[in-house]
Amino acid sequence: CTTPAIYTPQQGLWRGRLALNTEEERPRSYTASFELKGSQTQGELEVYNPLGNVLAKLIWSSQQAMVDTGSERLVSDSLDELVAHIFGTPIPVQALFAWLQGDAQQVAGWQLDLSRYSEGRISALREQPLPRTSLRVILQSPEDEG
């Protein structure tokens, strides 16, 4: 099989695909490609569908966070709160930025696997609290035009 592409990180910029699944009676799943810029205190996330259309855009600073789906806008005073609202479950945003840089910061309840980070792969599983949630990310080297 093809040798896995090696991921070369670039400061403050990540592109790739994510799959976030929550196992409730009505399972919710978010699979999309994305472009993330910045850091936890200041940044922007764009989420795309396979055809390349922008599904939603998140912009945040330390004081405020906003999501724009093109037809509606939602403002919140914290990125964590906004992310929890969008994905229906809290996601450790601060830790996520650490994971994206290959730093295996531990978070209560989450099992983290950065063993394939050199291929740009991150996976994290939260057993507690319910609903059981899995987050998987595949990073693409930013300058790889695809």
């Binding site: 399972p27 799943s29 396979p50 055809l51 093109g70």
Partner: protein
């Protein structure tokens, strides 16, 4: 004009297969040209309602509409997401190509207008009637009554341009092509959204 070409396509081309290239251009930002992302693969469809996009580059991904369920399978993530096709489809261009059997069917979801010919193609613009969708406008380019181009602009002015090559119209396609079975071990999620 474009509308006649669309009618010809909807009525005469019952199925088809083509290669496609997809060029996504992000809007210009503070004077800087938007980033361009290219992908490619094969596309096939059969009226009513069946279609399939097989992306090979930059990563393998399959989108299959079997008429009832829309599947998106990401090979690297080994995850298959299924959702009700009708719910996901009526405001997306794939509906235009695959499920519509007449212009009237399309006009339920889109305002259709002939657009001036360009690049050797006859054009139709389709503006979604739903205001809560993700798309601002869709343009379809035809040559001799066959679809050659599909340009989609979303609410953020990002432009996704699909160009079709070696379009084989009315090709007999095996029914299994529009049937998706998740590979063993894949995460299968029925998306309730």
């Amino acid at each position: 004009d474009g509308l006649q070409a669309l009618d010809q396509f909807l009525l005469n081309v019952k199925s088809g297969q083509a290669n496609f290239t997809q060029t996504v251009t992000a809007p210009e930002k503070n004077g800087e040209p938007g980033r361009v992302t290219k992908s490619s693969g094969t596309f096939s469809f059969e009226r009513p309602g069946k279609f399939r996009f097989d992306y090979s580059k930059p990563f393998p991904q399959e989108i299959v509409g079997d008429g009832k369920t829309l599947w998106v399978y990401d090979e690297d993530l080994n995850q298959a997401t299924s959702r009700d096709q009708q719910h996901a489809l009526n405001s997306t261009p794939a509906a235009i190509i695959s499920s519509a059997t007449s212009r009237a069917v399309l006009e339920k979801d889109f305002v259709l207008q002939a657009a001036p010919p360009a690049d050797g193609l006859e054009w139709v613009s389709a503006t979604p009637k739903a205001t809560d969708g993700q798309l601002r406008s869709v343009r379809m380019g035809f040559k001799n009554g066959v679809l050659q181009a599909l340009h989609i602009e979303d609410n953020f002015a990002q432009l996704s341009q699909l160009e079709f090559q070696n379009f084989e119209a009315n090709k007999a396609l095996d029914a299994s092509r529009f049937h998706f079975t998740p590979p063993a071990g894949a995460d299968v999620i029925r998306d309730a959204q």
